[in-house]
Subunit: 354 residues, 2 copies
């Protein structure tokens, strides 16, 4: 079989080991072993179509989130959920805060929504100013407000008590992207689904926390039957593959994996943040999740990215996020050994020059 060629995504295991990918925010523990074993043992499930209704999968997700299976819609990654929601709602005018994940705009563009941005300010450390945000919502006729929570790339998380203030406006729908929420401490007490509001749609992914971006599994949670029905009407059948289905059925129960991840991220986000801020020529923003936004004082994001690649480390040049510029990068948080390598490389590149 001809398995050579330039596909670093698949074949170059050697290269994948060489390059530390700090641009992608994936749990460094890798694919949960329990799932891997089960999938290998049941490889022949691929010869059958998945259950077109994904009933057992939705039941498992419902149980995990303490809702009913009727409140759950599953997707080919969170991406399918995002695009489906927008196709179902077709909101005329939408408010986003920014900097935030760029895919929202692409999904909104497919249904020609008008987008307004609320700027998260650098001088406020990119923390959402709730009062001004609520005021903007009240004084405009938005059909939809989209919140990325925790927010990518800033790493900030809006607690539930503040979300409650934001969603007070009753005639507006709120789409809350919680793709990274499992990395936040006490996340079970802070998910917006606890508010049980018909106005809220919560999006989740298994991609990041369970390290399976290649497998494609996300879901949406809502108490609004109309939007779930509309999304199901628009939805293509069998969009979640049988292994992703199996992943959902096994991973949410994988307490061992979940607990070791929680212990790691709690310690490592503190450590990485503190170590980064020991450098003179950068500022790291406090993060609630597994990546960290960093401002550079004496080198451009592009320049630093290139120099890091030479050292076999890939970071995210964050300059193309709205309201950011060439002084910002985003760095993933991984295992201690790799983090130390990144810190050392960074130190060589950004320190002793100013």
């Amino acid at each position: 079989m001809d398995l050579h060629g330039g596909n670093i995504y698949i074949f170059s295991k050697e290269k994948q080991k060489q390059i530390l990918d700090y641009s992608s925010n994936i749990n460094p523990f890798g694919v949960p072993k329990k799932f891997e074993e089960l999938a290998k043992k049941n490889f022949n499930i691929l010869t059958a179509y998945p259950d077109i209704n994904y009933t057992e999968l939705r039941e498992k997700i419902a149980l995990y989130n303490k809702v009913k299976k009727e409140n759950v819609i599953v997707g080919n990654g969170a991406t399918e959920i995002l695009f489906l929601y927008m196709r179902a709602l077709k909101p005329k005018k939408v408010l986003l805060f920014a900097p935030c994940f760029a895919e929202y705009k692409r999904a909104l563009d497919t249904v020609n929504s008008e987008i307004e941005y609320f700027e998260l300010k650098e001088e406020e450390n990119f923390i959402l100013n709730i009062d001004r945000f609520v005021e903007k919502i009240k004084n405009n006729n938005y059909e939809l407000v989209l919140l990325c929570n925790p927010n990518n790339p800033t790493g900030k998380f809006i607690e539930l008590s503040k979300i409650e203030k934001i969603i007070e406006e009753k005639n507006i729908k709120f789409f809350i992207d919680e793709a990274f929420i499992e990395f936040v401490e006490d996340n079970e007490k802070n998910t917006a689904i606890l508010l049980k509001s018909k106005n809220i749609f919560v999006m989740r992914a298994l991609t990041k926390f369970f390290a399976i971006p290649g497998l494609r599994l996300g879901y949406g949670l809502s108490f609004d039957k109309d939007i779930i029905d509309k999304m199901n009407e628009e939805k293509e059948p069998w969009s979640i593959n049988s292994f992703a289905n199996l992943a959902g059925l096994t991973m949410l129960d994988d307490k061992e994996y979940i607990e070791k991840t929680e212990a790691w991220i709690k310690e490592e986000k503190r450590f990485f943040y503190e170590e980064l801020n020991k450098f003179q020529n950068i500022k790291a923003y406090k993060t609630e999740v597994n990546f960290i936004l960093v401002k550079l004082f004496n080198i451009s994001s592009e320049n630093l990215r290139e120099k890091m690649i030479e050292k076999n480390i890939l970071i995210r040049d964050a300059s193309n996020f709205k309201f950011l510029d060439k002084s910002f990068i985003r760095i993933a948080i991984k295992d201690r050994e790799s983090n130390l390598k990144v810190l050392k490389t960074l130190s060589n590149l950004v320190e002793y020059r100013g």
Copy 2:
């Protein structure tokens, strides 16, 4: 781990063995071993996103079909290709022949197309009457004509010389579903892509021939840059999972699997057709593929289906296909041993009663 419950799709291997699924037209050789080994060895590819452009995959598919990678669009099963095409084209008035695969209607309904049907007649053995079909196309203002070739559930195949006559009308687009074409003898000489017409869009799937309906991989081929561009604009990113990507890269080269499948289906479709037609109380329609349409003379499709289930064989009640009725079933063609079991069970149920 809690892996019990009613999900026959995943866990009940025992039950899957017990029940012979003749309702689903999947290659009985199962998942190609070369792919299985490679996937198991490279399980950690799941921790990375697939290549968002699927460049290597499209190159491989292009090579296999003797076109350029720009002519290829890949999808989460053929289903995504079908729905994307319809969303991109939004055809006002569409002609389908029927009986045919029901999913076309669902995809067309999402874009509110008006559908007209051309009836494949029982007295013509469900073979498309080209002259009458071409006449209908000429005398109407269809934007799109959709051909299922080979046709599900009839098993009939329209040769290339006849397709050429159909597509003579220059202002109409033709969507040709070739999901089962690899089961047809001399299919390489009869695919519509050989016509290199900008009016033709060909849909393919790896699902049936390579026995991976659970993995989700299909693709479209077209020389019409506009439609490919429009589909790519509408397309959600990363919709094909990393294992499906890997499957595409390895299976199309798997000569051993392809050749043994071709040898099996050539022999077995002849055998099954001849054996079925030895029965007095049914008529089997000659098939070019791995399933066969059967008319029942002394029992209803529903009744027979239930009686077969009691014998642990699942067949497709074909009565809900347009223009068919309760006297029609569709049966898959599998390995000789299983086929003999089905023939024996059928014989007990449909013979010696009339």
